[in-house]
């Protein structure tokens, strides 16, 4: 029983982290601690960090939603819904462009 109770991250600290369980460390350093936007653009990093977190740590998407994490709903690279949105936005833009072009009388040159 004693063996199970020894903190394996015993001091001296130099050897501590190297023996720790990666999940223990990740759930702390990725997810917790003071979050301050440094000079390196953190808004992009947030997404990356959460990507990893979700993949590695969070048991399910439902659980993530409970925790208020729903960024993938709007991240174009991750959600098919968002991708559809992006596609329809592109379509709208193309239509607007052709309307503009025809308003400017460009349709004849395209035909020709």
């Amino acid at each position: 029983m004693e063996a199970g109770l020894q903190p394996y991250r015993s001091r001296p600290p130099a050897s501590a982290a190297s023996s720790g369980n990666l999940a223990d460390i990740l759930e702390r350093v990725l997810d917790k601690g003071i979050v301050i936007a440094g000079d390196i653009q953190i808004n992009l990093l947030d997404i990356e960090l959460l990507t990893i977190k979700l993949r590695l740590l969070v048991a399910s998407v439902d659980r993530a939603r409970e925790m208020g994490i729903d960024w993938w709903e709007s991240d174009p690279s991750l959600s098919s819904k968002a991708r559809q949105q992006l596609e329809s936005e592109n379509r709208d833009l193309r239509e607007r462009l052709s309307r503009l072009e025809s308003a400017a009388g460009l349709e004849e040159s395209r035909d020709g």
Partner: protein, 311 residues
């Protein structure tokens, strides 16, 4: 009249051509910008990216924090962690090359688990080395500034909230307790109990339906035992902690635990209550170890779960 019509037609055609040319130039410019942005998001003109470094911040502590021992390595090879002191506070930092730790580099590297593991272990290791020096506020990984001046400004601007956090953490440390269970062993024990009680009527389990009902009863009983064990453990540990937080169960691929993780919690424990806290873990282990449960105590950790990450 026909002449006027021609004039109008010509003028209209010329106007069309002129507008077309302008629109075209505009679209060209726009598309070119988009294409350039997509193709070359990286280096700023006149600067060799590998020559630039930023400052990775590990934690903030009181101004009396001792220097980092020289045998403690930083996240980036060859860059020793050091202490920046300002506004009565101390920040532990080390240089990181921005080609690897800039926005673009991090996007690439963070999804590489080997790279990530090395970096987070180094981050944690530096914090561990600073932990005996008094209360410290750990930073989430990838808090990077351009230089010492920016770090000093950050310390000055956030001085009050750092001091609040350190006051809350003084004389305390974060400890982790995980409970894992081997359900088969819990089921075995439950079955043995049932058979013992049922005794003479054991023959009732002979039919298929009877066996199924027994299986379902057994599963429910195992669930109950497991839930009760987790609830009791957390409740008893919580009594000895200043604050606590229940965490999601860990993924076996990363943690390598045996059995099923049914509790994963972090506790902020006063140093002078640590003995009591440890005793509870030992008691729980004694009570449950023979029944398929295993406890794991880890720590002391930097108080990652108790520094108010939303601030």
């Amino acid at each position: 009249m026909a002449e006027v019509d021609d004039l109008i037609r010509e003028a209209r055609a010329e106007a069309r051509a002129a507008v077309q040319a302008r629109l075209r130039a505009r679209f060209e410019r726009q598309l070119m910008e988009e294409a350039e942005a997509r193709l070359a998001p990286a280096p700023q003109p006149g600067r060799a990216p590998d020559a630039i470094t930023g400052l990775w911040v590990y934690c903030v502590a009181g101004g009396e924090l001792p220097d980092v021992p020289p045998d403690v390595a930083g996240v980036a090879a060859g860059h020793q962690p050091r202490v920046i002191r300002a506004a009565g506070l101390a920040a532990v930092v080390s240089e990181v090359p921005l080609d690897e730790y800039g926005e673009e580099g991090l996007r690439r590297n963070l999804n590489d688990l080997d790279w990530l593991e090395e970096v987070v272990r180094a981050h944690e290791n530096v914090l561990d080395s600073a932990l005996p020096g008094g209360p410290l506020v750990p930073m989430r990984v990838c808090t990077i500034y351009h230089g010492a001046e920016q770090v000093e400004r950050m310390l000055a601007e956030r001085r009050a909230s750092f001091e609040d956090a350190m006051e809350r953490l003084a004389g305390r440390a974060e400890w982790g307790v995980k409970l894992t269970v081997d359900r088969d062993r819990v089921a075995e024990a439950a079955r043995a109990r049932t058979e013992h009680v049922a005794g003479a009527t054991a023959g009732a389990g002979g039919s298929y339906l009877g066996r199924r009902q027994q299986d379902m009863r057994l599963r429910d009983e195992v669930d109950e035992v497991v839930t009760a064990a987790a609830a009791e453990s957390h409740a008893r540990l919580e009594e000895w902690a200043a604050e606590s937080e229940l965490l999601p169960a860990q993924r076996r691929e990363l943690s390598g635990h045996d059995g099923e993780m049914v509790m994963n919690a972090a506790y902020l424990v006063d140093d002078d209550r640590l003995d009591g806290f440890r005793r509870v873990v030992a008691d729980l282990e004694q009570q449950y170890a023979g029944h398929g449960f295993a406890f794991e105590l880890t720590g002391p950790w930097p108080a990652f779960h108790f520094t108010g990450s939303a601030r």
